[in-house]
Symmetry: C2
Subunit: 264 residues, 2 copies
């Protein structure tokens, strides 16, 4: 039994959808979420900068006594995960790897990915799929409007429906579709309807939570005393829009009492 | 007569809509456009950083022998215009001031502004209107989806129409509407239709071009020999999307032969 919290690192507030998943799937665990909103987005930064920032973020979390770290940012995972796994003793998992491992288990061969332009361009998903499932056919589409649309709270209106229809036009033949941006689970219902029930929508936060559960078990570091559980959110910039988006993504979760400002 | 080019400074490629205006309204003038795409967007940067970058951009343009500078970026205008006007001998004009001066001339009192979240938050437009037209009532709305939508080339489809309808909902009582982001003139027709023919849509690039024409005349530095006229574009990052957007905004103008990479 280990009552220390799980650390989560993200470039912004998008990873809060992943936090919600972990809260559901690992209900006994405390979580400290660190969102680097001051330097958001990471997509346009160099690999060296991303490694540097990810290390500093993880060190901030380690200073808060976390027992494991989850990287919820696709860019940080693809650019920095291997490097940071070498640097620290605690388990560190990333958003891409858990989902690709799951897709391999399911033996899917025609794989769709939707993500931001930065994530698609970084080839983080494409490279990891090619490495783990060499025979896969990959279909990808950058959907730059979906993240700002989620931040507007437009996740169920006619505009969202038409936009998703337009974006998924060329992706009808996939067996599964990776939601390669942490904002996208908010559109899951519309996407499922548009693609058809027989296609599996891969919610990367869900995959990450499953992998985290395994790791906690394998390392024998689960928490069993749920009394002392708590959720803390730290952001490096408290600009109003981030706070608005954060509360939308958390659906005004009563268990999170306060968002703290910090720097690292 | 002065055959030296006009310098244009912007944080990205949005100002190319202003370049098009100046090409139309000042057909004899050569233009050098500098877009700081590497550090785009400026909206999230500090005032000090914006002043520093604007100065360096203007010095780059001066090194290319420009006779006047147009700042096409709203953030750079609101944060740095007054400061840089003190530092250099050539005329420097900004996107906000020309439009507000025009609105004052027309005696409009109910003024609408639509812009990006960063521009609205910076209060650049609001402050300048309060200063020049103290009795004005100002109605503003951040429209974070419009710029990425323009960059997707979705400026006439159903999604654009519905989005604009949604955003303009609370702005029906204005006499004029400032398009406070250089991307927005691409939606001008839809906006005019939605607001009604009796409202004046303020295309800030058009106002800036008019002001530029006056300044060239007053300073007696117009070019009269159109033979040697040319248009050069310099960007600090040549990422594919910027190039795509640039060509969309220029409507594949044949007069621009090449886009150069530079740094400053």
């Amino acid at each position: 039994m280990d009552s220390r919290p799980i650390g989560m690192f993200d470039s912004g507030v998008g990873g809060l959808t992943v936090l919600k998943e972990i809260m559901t799937q690992c209900p006994n665990e405390s979580i400290i979420y660190l969102g680097d909103t001051k330097r958001f987005p990471y997509g346009s930064k160099s690999k060296e900068t991303i490694i540097e920032l990810t290390k500093r973020g993880i060190e901030f979390l380690i200073s808060k006594n976390v027992k494991a770290v989850v990287i919820a940012c696709g860019t940080a995972t693809s650019q920095a995960l291997e490097e940071v796994q070498k640097c620290y003793d605690i388990p560190i998992i990333g958003i891409i790897n858990s989902a690709v491992r799951y897709i391999k288990e399911k033996d899917y061969k025609n794989i769709g990915i939707i993500a931001t332009r930065g994530t698609i361009r970084s080839k983080g998903w494409q490279n990891k799929i090619n490495e783990i499932i060499p025979k896969a056919s990959i279909f990808y589409k950058a959907c730059p409007l979906l993240a700002p649309m989620a931040e507007e709270g437009w996740t169920e209106n006619e505009i969202a429906k038409l936009t998703i229809k337009e974006y998924l036009e060329g992706l009808k033949n996939v067996e599964c579709l990776i939601l390669g941006c942490t904002h996208y689970p908010l559109f899951k219902e519309i996407i499922q309807k548009e693609l058809g029930k027989d296609k599996e929508i891969i919610n990367t936060g869900e995959m990450l939570s499953k992998r985290l559960t395994q790791i906690l078990k394998n390392n024998n570091i689960e928490n069993e005393n749920v009394q002392n559980r708590k959720y803390d959110i730290y952001l490096t910039d408290m600009e109003t829009n981030f706070i608005n988006v954060a509360s939308k993504f958390l659906k005004d979760d009563k268990m999170i009492e306060k968002i703290y400002k910090c720097d690292f």
